[in-house]
Chain length 340, copies 2
C-alpha cells in the first residue's frame, strides 16, 4: 500500500470539568504492515459519543479509563486496506473499535462486517449501531412501554433519544421528547413524529412537562441526568420504569450551587411509587437481542417509519472540538467525524 503516514488523537491531560481542546493532542504515526492474521484498516467515520467523557476520568467504571498519552477510545467505520486475515479482504467495510485515529491494525477482535446494501454505512455508528441498540434495549427490555403509556426522553433529537421516541410510538405508547432550541424541537415533532416536544431551556419547562403528561409518566428514559430528573420525578406513575443509560449533564461535574441533598426525595419516590431504576450498558443485551434489533430497526428505516439524522464533522483534527460541543448539546443528530 502507498499509505505510510497516519494520525491519532491521545489524551493529553485529564479534564477538570468541561474538557478543553488542550486536553487532547494529535500525533503523527506510521502505518505498520499487517502480519499474518492481521488486517490494516483505514478509518472513514469516527463516532463521538457521550460515554467517552467517562473514559477521560481516572475512575474505575464499567471500563478502564484512557491513560494520559493513550489513544482516545472509540468506534469507527473503516475500510479494510490490506488483509492477512482469512475472514477479511481489501475493500470490506467494518465496524471496528479503532479509537480516534486514521489507521489501525486489527486481528479481527470486536470487528463486525457491514452490509452497505442494507443501509448507509454511517448508520452502523448511529441508528443501527451502539446508540440505536442502547435505545432499543433500554426501552424494550427495561422500559417495556405498553400501549397508551407515556414515555419521556430527553435529548430527543440525538441518536439515542430520537430512536427511543420512535420505538415507543411503534409500540403504541405516547412519546414526549425534550430538546434544546426551536430547530431541534421542530425536528422532533415534525420529522420524528413525537406526540409532544418541549424545549428544556424554557423557563416554565417543569410546568410544560406536567401539562404534556396528564396521565403521568410510565417510562422515563434517562440519558441526561441533572435538572430534568427533578421535573420528571413528581410525575412518575406507580411502577414506572427508568432505564439509565447516560448522565451527560453530570459528566463534566455536578452543579455546585445545589446545596441540598436530593437523594432522599428520589429514594422516597422510589419507595412510594415502586419505581424501577435500572442502569445499563447496551452490550449486556447484545447476545440475546442484537439480531432482533437489526431486523426491526433496519426494516423501519427501509419503510421510512424510522428516521435518523447525522451531524458530520470533517477531519480527525476537529474531533476534540466537536466532542466538547456535543457535551453542551451543540450537535444536531448523531455526531460523526469524517476521517477519510
Amino acid at each position: 500500500m502507498t499509505t505510510t503516514h497516519s494520525r491519532q488523537i491521545v489524551l493529553a491531560a485529564r479534564p477538570v470539568g468541561k474538557p478543553r481542546t488542550s486536553d487532547f493532542r494529535i500525533e503523527d504515526a506510521g502505518v505498520p504492515a499487517p502480519k499474518q492474521g492481521e488486517i490494516l484498516l483505514a478509518v472513514r467515520y469516527l463516532s463521538l459519543d457521550p460515554y467517552m467523557r467517562g473514559r477521560m476520568e481516572d475512575r474505575k467504571s464499567y471500563a478502564e479509563p484512557v491513560k494520559i498519552g493513550g489513544l482516545m477510545t472509540g468506534e469507527a467505520i473503516a475500510t479494510v486496506v490490506e488483509s492477512q486475515h482469512p475472514a477479511y479482504k481489501a475493500g470490506d467495510i467494518v465496524l471496528a473499535p479503532t479509537g480516534w485515529r486514521t489507521h489501525a491494525l486489527s486481528d479481527g477482535t470486536g470487528l463486525r462486517k457491514l452490509d452497505p446494501t442494507l443501509a448507509p454505512i454511517t448508520t452502523g455508528l448511529g441508528v443501527l449501531g451502539m446508540p440505536g441498540f442502547t435505545a432499543y434495549s433500554g426501552l424494550y427490555l427495561i422500559g417495556k412501554p405498553k400501549p397508551g403509556e407515556t414515555v419521556v426522553v430527553a435529548a430527543a433529537s440525538g441518536p439515542v433519544g430520537s430512536l427511543v421516541g420512535q420505538l415507543a410510538k411503534l409500540r403504541g405508547a405516547r412519546a414526549v421528547g425534550l430538546a434544546g432550541g426551536a430547530e431541534k424541537c421542530a425536528y422532533v415533532r415534525d420529522v420524528l413524529g413525537f406526540d409532544v416536544v418541549i424545549d428544556h431551556r424554557a423557563s416554565d419547562f417543569a410546568a410544560q412537562l406536567a401539562a404534556a403528561c396528564p396521565d403521568g409518566i410510565d417510562v422515563y428514559f434517562e440519558n441526561v441526568g441533572g435538572a430534568i430528573w427533578q421535573a420528571v420525578l413528581p410525575l412518575l406513575n406507580r411502577f414506572a420504569r427508568i432505564p439509565v443509560c447516560g448522565l451527560i449533564a453530570q459528566y463534566n461535574g455536578v452543579d455546585p450551587s445545589v446545596t441540598t441533598d436530593r437523594l432522599p426525595a428520589t429514594m422516597r419516590e422510589v419507595l412510594a411509587k415502586s419505581l424501577t431504576v435500572r442502569g445499563f450498558i447496551n452490550y449486556e443485551f447484545v447476545p440475546d437481542h442484537h439480531d432482533d434489533f437489526l431486523r426491526e430497526v433496519a426494516a423501519g428505516i427501509s419503510s421510512g417509519r424510522i428516521r435518523y439524522r447525522e451531524d458530520i464533522v470533517e477531519g480527525l483534527e476537529n474531533a476534540p472540538a466537536a466532542f466538547i460541543g456535543m457535551l453542551d448539546g451543540h450537535n444536531f443528530g448523531k455526531l460523526l467525524v469524517k476521517v477519510s
Copy 2:
C-alpha cells in the same frame, strides 16, 4: 356480649420530625353490635411498623394519610367475639386491619383466618405476616441472590432484616447484617446465623463493612436509608440489586447537616455498575407468591431453620411511646402491643 367499652388511638397532630406522644390521643368509645354480615373483633395483638410513620404525613404516597382525629391504621391479631357473618364464628382468630383500637367491627374485608396450630398466632404479624412477606418477596423476587453472592441488610435483628438474612442463607448466599449495639449483634450472629454482623454505630462502620464484603455486595436490601447507603454504594458489584422497602432513617426528616447533593453519585453508580434499584410494597406480590411464602417460611419455623424474635409491649395506651422508640431502633425484634 358483656363488653360495652372500647378504646382507640387517633392522630392528634401531624408530627414535625420525630413524633411525640402528644401527637397521639387515646379515646374511649362504645362497642357497637354487629349487624347482619358483620363481625365484632376483640384485638389481641396490634402490630407497630415503620410504614405507619408515613401515614402520619399529609402527603400522598401509595396509601392515603391518616386524617387529624382519625384512627391510626394498623394490622392486628383479633378474636371474633360475635359473628353475624356466615364465614366466621365466635372464637376464630383472624388477621385484620383494625387500626389502633381494642375492638372493631368488620364485614370481612381484608380479613385472613389464622390457623393457631401452624405457628404461634403472633407470627401472623411478623415472620409469617407482612414483615416476613416483605423480606421474602423483596429478597427472592427482586434481590434474587445466587449461591455464593453477598447479601447485606440493615436492621438485621428486626422482623424484616432477620428474615432477609436467613432466607439469603437458605439460598446459599452470604448474609452480612447490620444492627445497633452488642446485644442485637450477638443475636444476629449467634441465633440467626448470619455470616457477619456489624454494629452500624461503630465509628469505623464503613471500613468494617468493606472488610466484611471482600467480593463486594450483590444484593443490598434497603430498609433503612440514610448513612448506611453511603457506605454500601461503593461496594456494590456490577448488576447488583437493591430492593427498597423502607427508609426509616428519613421518615422523621432528613439530616439537615448534609449540604451536598448525594444524588449524582448514586446515579453515577447506578449507571457505571448497571444497578437495579427497585422500590416495592409487599402486596404487589401477594397474588402470585404468598402461598409459597407461607409454605416455605412456616416449614422453616417448624424445622428450627428460621428463627424470629418478638418485642411485646403491654397495653394499647403504650403503643405511641413504643412506636416512637421503634423509629429510633429501641425495639429488639418484631414490635407488638398486647391489647387484651
